[in-house]
Amino acid sequence: MTDHQWSELAAPYALGALPPDERERFAAHLAECAACRGEVQALREVAALLPDAAPVATPPTGLRDRILREARQIRPLRSGRAPVIPWLAAAASLVLAVGFGYVYLRERAALQQTSAALAAKTDSLAARDSLIATIFSPDVVTAALAATGKPPSARLFWNQSRRRVVMAVFQLPPASAGRTYQLWAIAQGKKPVSLGVFNTAADGRLTVAMEVPPGLTFEVTAVTEEPAGGSPQPTQQPFLIGKVAPAD
């Protein structure tokens, strides 16, 4: 196929209008063609707006309660660690942050918080908002860090234009006294570069943002446990490791 013929497929691909065989072939092409990837990324954003063209209809009043009721039956909530990685919670806290003006005002009215508490709340929401900006950018690449399919796990987002990474960690017990966790960026054939140290909260979770040194690129990211303060180079085998992939 010529380049021209490939680029013709971007629009139907974004609209889900290619038959399976053609879709597979185009997806394979996308893996190696940045121009088509860019085109698809942009047209997918267009397609993602199309639901807004549907005539507005008001859902039945009981639908919200029904959804929450059914969710409770699917996965009963526990006070301890959730059996499934709580991406929804992370996703929804993103939602909360995106709509934080609304949530903030509503919570303020409901809770009558003190001005000090309100200031703290605003700060934490503003911090979250900055995380969102890092994550929801078109040039973000992502890596799923895993330990052979078992907990703990982590997901890393690398915003290349802002030179920032955001990492969300799940089900990782806090490091023992005098120890810390350290995140490494690894480029092929080069020594690992430290992106920073971190520790999880008692619930095993953490969302953290770190700066990426100028000019640094990497294909793999990994986490090791190190002496407090971190090490110049890893002193242990990483227990979490993941490959960076384009986020298109």
Binding site: L18, V46, E70, A82, V95, I135, P138
Partner: protein, 183 residues
């Protein structure tokens, strides 16, 4: 954290429930079906939250994809054709956007939800009918390009050209809502 997950689901519904329901209804036509579809879609979001990948798009986009897929599955399972498909296929139809009306004001930098909606509806409505129809048939009707060609009794090449031209025009008119535009 207890209760936080469920609250998160509630927030997700408050923000995007209407979009999901409207989309489901546009595809499936029946209100009762739309309700089932949306309940199923949120159930899937809940169960598969672990697979959500923000790098691939917004939560709303993910929910819309799930909702659309479920709606098309249901319509196909019943051997029914999507309403959008029938309406879009009518030569004289104004398509899905006919009920939306046109907004007069140009988009502002800070676009509110309602404005975004109007811009999308207006942009789709302003496409030449043949281009709008192939896009609606693909998105709301779930048809492939060859199925659209058969439906409209047009050559496949014509359908391809229209789809591409229509999407490129939308990309231009919706630029204020896209990550690469309006900045």
């Amino acid at each position: 954290m207890a209760g936080g997950d469920e609250r998160a689901l509630g927030e997700l519904y408050d923000r995007h429930g209407e979009m999901a329901y409207s989309l489901a209804l546009a595809v499936a036509q029946e209100r009762a079906d739309a309700e089932e579809i949306v309940a199923d879609a949120f159930g899937q979001v809940w169960r598969n939250a672990a697979s959500y990948d923000p790098g691939r798009g917004s939560v709303a986009g993910w929910l819309a994809t799930i909702t659309r897929t479920r709606a098309l599955d249901l319509v196909r399972a019943r051997g029914r054709r999507a309403r959008a498909m029938e309406r879009a296929a009518q030569t004289d139809s104004d398509g899905l956007t006919s009920t939306m009306g046109a907004a007069a004001d140009p988009p502002d930098r800070r676009i509110e939800r309602g404005e975004a909606r109007r811009l999308v509806a207006r942009s789709l409505g302003e496409l030449p009918d043949p281009q709008r129809r192939v896009i609606e048939l693909a998105y709301f009707g779930g048809l492939s390009q060859s199925e659209i060609a058969a439906e409209l009794q047009e050559p496949l090449g014509t359908v391809k050209t229209r789809m591409r031209a229509g999407m490129e025009k939308l990309r231009g008119s919706l630029a204020p809502l896209l990550s690469g535009g309006g900045a």
